[in-house]
């Protein structure tokens, strides 16, 4: 059945003639969809543009704040570097200042570790290891001395180099090496 549209069109009413429709009815929905999609893209572009502008504005504010503090921060960093240098220097000075007391203490500890009937006659240091020479009342004393010296925490162990009777005097002479702790 054919439908007839009795509504007078705008062109008939105002121009006196019926113009053909600008957009055929079959194209109206697709064209509306096309316009919607263009509008959608425009909205997306606007949103992204606004976000980008906001980000740039934030960046500019941060950059201004950063520039305002940069000179003061550079001054404090220079003080910090100076402090680091002075710390290193102070540590080095302390280490050097302690060196004498440390060496004297090493010798005293070795002397104190020996049993009462053994004594030192010489001590030689070589890169953290010590070579001891001394005398003891008898050979058993040397064994006790090795035992005691081996317990010293600063050294890796005590090693007998030699022990023999002293022909000139009563007792024995000995040589013991204290090895460097690894």
């Amino acid at each position: 059945m054919r439908r007839i549209n009795y509504v007078v069109t705008w062109s008939e009413r105002h121009l006196g003639t019926a113009l053909p429709p600008a957009v055929p009815a079959t194209l109206r929905a697709p064209l509306a969809a096309l316009l919607c999609s263009v509008a959608f893209v425009a909205v997306v572009w606007s949103v992204q543009h606004a976000r980008l502008r906001a980000t740039q504005r934030d960046g500019a504010v941060l950059a201004v704040r950063f520039a305002a503090t940069a000179r003061d921060v550079a001054r404090v960093r220079a003080i910090e570097r100076d402090v680091t240098r002075l710390r290193g220097l102070a540590e080095r000075v302390d280490r050097i200042r302690r060196s004498g007391a440390q060496r004297a203490s090493d010798i005293a500890v070795v002397g104190d570790a020996l049993p009462s009937d053994a004594w030192l006659t010489a001590l030689h240091a070589d890169h953290g290891a010590l070579a001891l020479e001394g005398r003891g009342a008898r050979l058993g004393t040397v064994g006790t001395a090795i035992d005691e010296l081996a317990k010293l925490p600063s050294y890796g162990g005590a090693r007998l180099i030699s022990a023999h009777e002293d022909p000139a005097r009563q007792g024995v002479t000995y040589a013991i090496a204290l090895e460097q702790r690894r």
Partner: protein
């Protein structure tokens, strides 16, 4: 293909192009901007933390300078050795010992490469002095202790300690010491064509 289909296809293409060229590329630029801002903000926070610690650094620098005030790093070589010889002689006498020999070797420049690396331009120079100290056990140990604690920066190492006369009952010891005197060497000025 009808016109309606072409228009629908065009609408789909516009949406896809909008996604690819507007949304995606915009998102990438916005994210890059946010990341750059985050970096600046982090640098700003770092700077603010540094500014907050300014007082602490200034106090520590003062304390360290005070602590190092008594060490003479900048003496010239002759003055350094002269001062050490005078101080060592006084120390030995104070502890009932005698310095029976002293030999100094030449100065060796040292870059700042101790266990704690120094970050400044400090270049240390050392002067090695071999010396023999003679005295009783307690006096020799006290002298060794005192040598490194004086005005001159002197690192003390003991090479050997032995009885002076092993055959007799005399308890006098002779200690051979290696003392390294340290000073900060003046940094040489670089002279170049543009200087």
């Amino acid at each position: 293909m009808t016109d309606a289909k072409v228009v629908r296809f065009a609408a789909v293409l516009v949406v896809l192009a909008g996604y690819a060229f507007v949304f995606r590329s915009g998102e990438a630029r916005v994210n890059a901007g946010i990341a750059a801002n985050a970096n600046v903000a982090e640098a700003l926070r770092d700077g603010e933390r540094t500014l907050q610690s300014r007082e602490a650094f200034v106090r520590e620098r003062g304390r360290l300078r005070e602590r190092l005030h008594h060490a003479d790093f900048a003496l010239d070589r002759s003055a350094l050795v002269a001062r050490f010889v005078r101080d060592a002689a006084a120390i030995a006498v104070r502890h009932g010992c005698a310095i029976t020999g002293m030999t100094a070797s030449g100065a060796t420049p040292l870059t700042a490469t101790g266990p704690t690396p120094l970050t400044g331009d400090d270049v240390f120079e050392d002067i090695t002095v071999e010396m023999a100290v003679e005295g009783r056990y307690a006096g020799v140990l006290a002298t060794i202790r005192a040598l490194s604690a004086g005005r001159v920066l002197a690192s003390v190492d003991v090479t050997s300690v032995a009885r002076k006369n092993a055959a007799s009952a005399d308890a006098t010891l002779i200690a051979s010491l290696r003392v390294v005197l340290e000073r900060i060497a003046p940094v040489p000025v670089k002279v170049g064509p543009n200087a």
